[in-house]
């Protein structure tokens, strides 16, 4: 039976999208079968209202404005973390002394929520874009750093010896063996860094800010404009998913030769 084979072959896609569609439909239909008490009704919105709010914000240019600000903070912070994290990670991977010296800071900063530093950042950099950039940087640099130096450390001893036996110096070693070998780790680090960077933008813009998508969400919440809140959340969600998928695609392309990559979630 044709329908049955179609289902069998696309089962995962059907169930997956079906689940999401059903959830959205249920959400949309709540006002129809359950009248909320007055107080709750203020906090409630439906997917269609969110879509309408999104359209409205697009039309009056609000979204563009905030998006632009957030994007700058995100890209600047992420860029900075790559510029600092990658070279430092490479150096730390090759030099055990450097790694030992920096390890206490790396471990403690990585393990603790970098958000705690936000009030201090705001104190120092004000509510302009710089405090956001610093928080984004602080969040994104660590996964990059750690994964880069894990990649460098894990380079196959045998390969290094092989290349050395052809008379390669340190620089050539890096180029021919260490970097290509570390690439998968670095990509994974990049994926994590992107997630942390988005987090940094969101939280940084919640507090002490007057622009940006995070600010848009926070101020909408204070004004009970729940549909706008969800517009902001949806935008962040979509961006995260797209970026993560893109990097994952990159990961599988560049890391197809590896039996197992650095496992991360």
């Amino acid at each position: 039976m044709k329908l049955k084979t179609f289902y069998a072959e696309h089962e995962s896609f059907i169930l997956g999208t079906g689940f999401i569609v059903i959830l959205l439909a249920l959400w949309e239909s709540v006002p129809l079968w359950y009248t909320l008490p007055k107080g709750m009704a203020l906090f409630f919105t439906t997917p269609s209202k969110v879509a309408a709010a999104f359209q409205q914000l697009l039309i009056n240019g609000e979204i563009e404005k905030h998006f632009y600000v957030s994007a700058i903070a995100f890209l600047a912070g992420l860029g900075l973390s790559v510029v600092v994290g990658l070279p430092l990670g490479l150096l730390m991977g090759r030099s055990q002394t450097l790694e030992a010296l920096l390890d206490p800071y790396v471990t403690s900063f990585n393990a603790s929520p970098r958000i705690v530093w936000l009030p201090l950042m705001i104190l120092w950099f004000g509510i302009g874009i710089w405090s956001k950039i610093v928080i984004v940087f602080a969040g994104a640099v660590f996964p990059l750093l750690i994964n880069t130096y894990a990649g460098v450390k894990n380079v196959n001893r045998v390969l290094v010896n092989v290349v050395r036996s052809f008379g390669a110096n340190e620089w050539q070693l890096m180029k021919v063996v260490v970097l290509p070998n570390s690439l998968p780790y670095i990509i994974v680090g990049l994926r994590l860094a992107i997630g942390r960077a988005i987090l940094g933008v969101v939280v940084g813009e919640f507090f002490g800010s007057s622009q940006g998508l995070g600010y848009m969400i926070a101020s909408a919440a204070t004004n009970y404009k729940v549909d706008v809140v969800f517009v902001g959340v949806a935008i962040f969600m979509t961006l995260s998913v797209i970026l993560t998928l893109a990097v994952k695609r990159l990961e599988s392309r560049l890391a197809s030769w590896r039996p197992e990559t650095a496992k991360t979630f």
């Binding site: 393990a111 009030p119 750690i146 987090l199 009970y224 979630f265």
Partner: protein, 262 residues
């Protein structure tokens, strides 16, 4: 053994400790003798130590910690109670995996903190709001790590149990659960990190008590030493918990001692 031998053996520890001591000393000396210090923007270790002593001897710090811990534990416990079974079912039943995976992956990849203002507005600024945020943030690492753990169960071991006539219950308790343990603990480690972000963001945003609030309030009133005390205490707690989880991972799964899960 003499100093040289000790150094070679414990090189990492020595260098690490030296590094920290050097930084603290340099910081203190630079800000005492070299740079003029504007107390509204800078502080130094000696002042931080003083503030630390004061806070520890006082009552407010402990009270704040208690408040924050309560909210955190509530949210985290629910994340454990909900996350682990969902992960188990997803790993064991393929249909459930197909249905839930896209949705949950999207949620996991998104900055759910963005919902913080909404949650606080709906649930209020007390324990409930903060716990809800902590729950939302820490449930996903549990789901996905338990899910991965179940899926990674060695099929051979399942056959072994079956060959001895084991029941479904035996499969769960003797193979799947132990096999999933290391993943579960890794998940707990990640969940703690995310949960802490939740409690802090919740308290920055709208709270009147708690350690996060204390930090942001100290910032508002330009009391830098107090701010640093809060930041340091929170960081220490985070590091201790995370390291404890890593140690636990190693004890529970000594046969996986070489693997790194970040």
């Amino acid at each position: 053994m003499n100093a040289k031998d000790y150094y070679t053996e414990h090189r990492r520890l020595v260098l690490g400790v030296f590094s920290v001591i050097f930084l603290v000393a340099a910081w203190e000396l630079l800000l005492t003798y070299v740079f003029p210090v504007n107390p509204f923007f800078f502080t130094k270790p000696s002042l931080i130590a003083e503030a630390f002593k004061e806070q520890v001897q006082g009552a407010k710090l402990w009270h704040d910690l208690a408040i924050s811990s309560r909210a955190f534990l509530w949210g985290f416990s629910f994340a454990v109670i909900v996350g682990i079974p969902v992960g188990l079912v997803m790993g064991w039943r393929r249909r459930v995996e197909y249905a839930l995976d896209p949705f949950l992956t999207a949620m996991y990849a998104s900055p759910l903190v963005a919902l913080a203002p909404l949650l606080i507005i709906v649930f209020g600024v007390g324990v409930l709001g903060k716990a809800a945020l902590v729950f939302l943030l820490s449930v996903f690492p549990f789901v996905f790590n338990v899910f991965a753990g179940v899926k990674s169960t060695d099929a051979l071991l399942i056959n072994v149990i079956r060959s001895f006539g084991g029941t479904e219950k035996d499969l769960y308790f003797k193979v799947i659960l132990p096999s999933t343990m290391p993943y579960l603990i890794a998940g707990a480690r990640l969940a703690i990190g995310r949960g802490l972000v939740g409690i802090i963001v919740g308290e920055f945003y709208a709270a009147s008590e708690g350690i996060g609030f204390a930090i942001s309030q100290a910032g508002d009133t330009y009391r830098l030493p107090d701010m640093f005390v809060g930041i340091i205490i929170l960081s220490v707690i985070a590091v201790v918990l995370t390291e404890a989880m890593r140690r636990l991972e190693l004890t529970v799964a000594p046969w996986r001692a070489g693997e790194e899960v970040r």
